[in-house]
């Protein structure tokens, strides 16, 4: 029982990383019908940005805000930096070629992915880096015989807060309704007075910002980061997006959390080596029996 609960919690932690990244894929796909393959690498860039802030800025950041404040500050700055990077990618790699169709943009996205990945390698070197232990304290909490690190609790709290905030913005506010309207029908959205460029700017800033924060949290949780990590996490998060139903915000959250839990339970009870097999098996089953994903768009249209 204890092991199941601990594995579930570990699964939720990894799952919330996936979910935060998946939200970026899903938002961009929803409005642009474009799969932003550079998104995983923006996540990695966020992780490196957080690393630099904590390592080289630690004399200022950690001293000024304390250890936990320093971590929050690193996450916020990474979020802002990656948000800006996301909008720049949109300007440079996607906007000039929207008019020629969707496929060229996908190729351009892959190109952007390669550029960012190699950019990280050039800037930080090809060897993996480690988040130093002095900036990320490891405090164990014992609840009965049940063990959890304080860091895990904080990661879960922040992740669920961010997801809740995004859910509120997209599902409950008029601005969120405007985003969903743009995803459904751009021309009619423009007739409502919605500036589509504002919406595009917002999704290309917010999605990557969430990914960047996830990157910092991954760095703190696993310590080790590498310049190719964006590919792996990106793929998993993309899978989570499909699992939950692409273009659907609650779907991306559910898909990410589910994927993390499946992966952890799979590696705990079946085999660590086969954990990805287990994950993709579930994806295949979902695609066969429910191709639009678990929470895929409700289709309620009358002709």
């Amino acid at each position: 029982m204890k092991i199941i609960l601990e594995q579930l919690l570990n699964g939720l932690t990894i799952g919330s990383f996936y979910a935060l990244i998946a939200l970026g894929y899903s938002m961009v796909y929803g409005v642009m019908k474009l799969i932003n393959f550079a998104h995983g690498d923006l996540f990695a860039l966020g992780s490196y940005l957080g690393y630099t802030l904590l390592v080289f800025g630690s004399t200022y950041v950690t001293v000024t805000f304390g250890i936990w404040g320093g971590m929050i500050a690193a996450m916020l700055i990474a979020a802002i930096g990656i948000g800006i990077a996301g909008t720049l990618i949109e300007r440079i790699a996607y906007r000039p070629i929207y008019s020629v169709g969707r496929l060229p943009a996908v190729v351009s996205a892959l190109g952007a992915s390669i550029v960012i990945q190699n950019g990280i390698m050039v800037a930080w070197g090809p060897r993996p880096q480690a988040y130093p232990s002095q900036v990320v304290p490891s405090i164990m909490l014992n609840i009965g015989e049940f063990k959890i690190t304080l860091l895990q609790v904080i990661i879960l709290l922040i992740s669920f807060m961010l997801m809740g905030l995004l859910y509120y913005i997209v599902q409950k506010t008029t601005f969120g309704a405007a985003i969903r309207a743009c995803a459904l029908d751009r021309d009619t959205a423009a007739l409502m007075g919605i500036n589509i460029e504002t919406i595009i700017f917002f999704i290309f800033a917010l999605g990557p910002a969430l990914g960047g924060m996830s990157g910092v949290m991954v760095g703190m949780y696993y310590r080790k980061i590498s310049f190719i990590m964006g590919w792996n996490y990106g793929l998993k998060a993309f899978t989570a997006t499909i699992l939950g139903g692409i273009g659907n915000i609650p779907g991306a959250m559910l898909g990410g959390l589910l994927l993390g839990v499946l992966e952890m339970l799979g590696s705990a009870y079946i085999s660590t080596a086969y954990k990805d097999v287990f994950v993709f098996l579930v994806l295949i089953l979902v695609l066969i029996f429910r191709p639009r994903g678990l929470l895929g768009e409700k289709v309620a249209e009358k002709v």
């Binding site: 309704a177 969903r180 309207a181 459904l184 029908d185 409502m192 007075g193 768009e297 409700k298 009358k302």
Partner: protein, 245 residues
């Protein structure tokens, strides 16, 4: 009467195909003007050009003194033009209430006025109030048309562009919609009504234009159009009547 909307020698191209070949028309303050024409005559093209969804090749569109060429669609709404598109185009996976809120998107900070506008829309279309928390895709065709018109009114426009509001509706509903258009007009909102149902359109319009393959061929007061032989034959079923005699 002052001219509210003025279209001058408007030309619109789709690639190399000329969809509108230099047409001019005006809508005065408080008027109902109808544009009649068959499928493919360019009626929807005209409305889409006015609301900024299509690039203008040449000619001029003016709302009052303000020129609308090269103004983006979302800004044209703020100027006071509201376009209810063909086929209703409600946001199917959003609720009725959310659809109405988006109609007032240009003044979304003004919560109190939005509430008032919504009450006015509910007065015109009581069914929308009953359905306000329902996904708009689950509404019937007639209800969707009412929602589309209500949503169009939420921006408190000076002129409402209606693209075939009677399309695909049962005769009783068409009658109701036509009555509501008159009511909206009585509240001081000018209306540019594009219709295939010429008889209904001319029954409420002050003036009308006939659009044929990108050109305006006939124009005049609604009463003149009704008695015009060509209009009768082509759009009011006159040819069929003659045969029966």
């Amino acid at each position: 009467m002052t001219t509210l909307l003025k279209v001058e020698d408007l030309k619109i191209f789709y690639g190399s195909i000329e969809a509108l070949k230099g047409i001019s028309l005006t809508v005065d303050e408080g008027e109902i003007v109808t544009v009649l024409g068959a499928n493919g005559a360019g009626k929807s093209t005209l409305l889409r050009a006015i609301s900024g969804l299509l690039p203008i090749r040449s000619g001029k569109i003016k709302l009052g003194d303000q020129e609308l060429n090269n103004v983006k669609a979302f800004k044209i709404v703020m100027g006071g033009i509201s376009h209810v598109p063909e086929g209703r185009k409600v946001f199917a996976t959003l609720t009725v209430d959310e659809n109405l809120n988006l109609g007032a998107y240009t003044r979304r900070k003004d919560k109190k006025n939005i509430k008032e506008s919504k009450e006015r829309v509910y007065d015109l279309f009581p069914i929308l109030k009953a359905r306000r928390n329902q996904l708009s895709g689950t509404l019937s065709g007639g209800e969707q048309q009412m929602l589309a018109m209500g949503r169009g009114l939420m921006s408190t426009p000076r002129i409402l562009l209606l693209d075939e509001p009677s399309l695909g509706l049962a005769p009783l509903l068409v009658k109701q919609i036509i009555q509501i258009i008159r009511e909206i007009n009585n509240q001081g909102i000018s209306i540019l009504l594009v219709e295939q149902n010429a008889r209904k359109a001319l029954s409420i319009a002050d003036r009308g234009y006939v659009l044929e393959t990108g050109n305006i061929t006939i124009s005049g007061l609604a009463s003149e159009l009704k008695s015009n032989k060509k209009v009768q034959e082509a759009y009011l079923g006159g040819a069929a009547l003659k045969k029966r005699k």
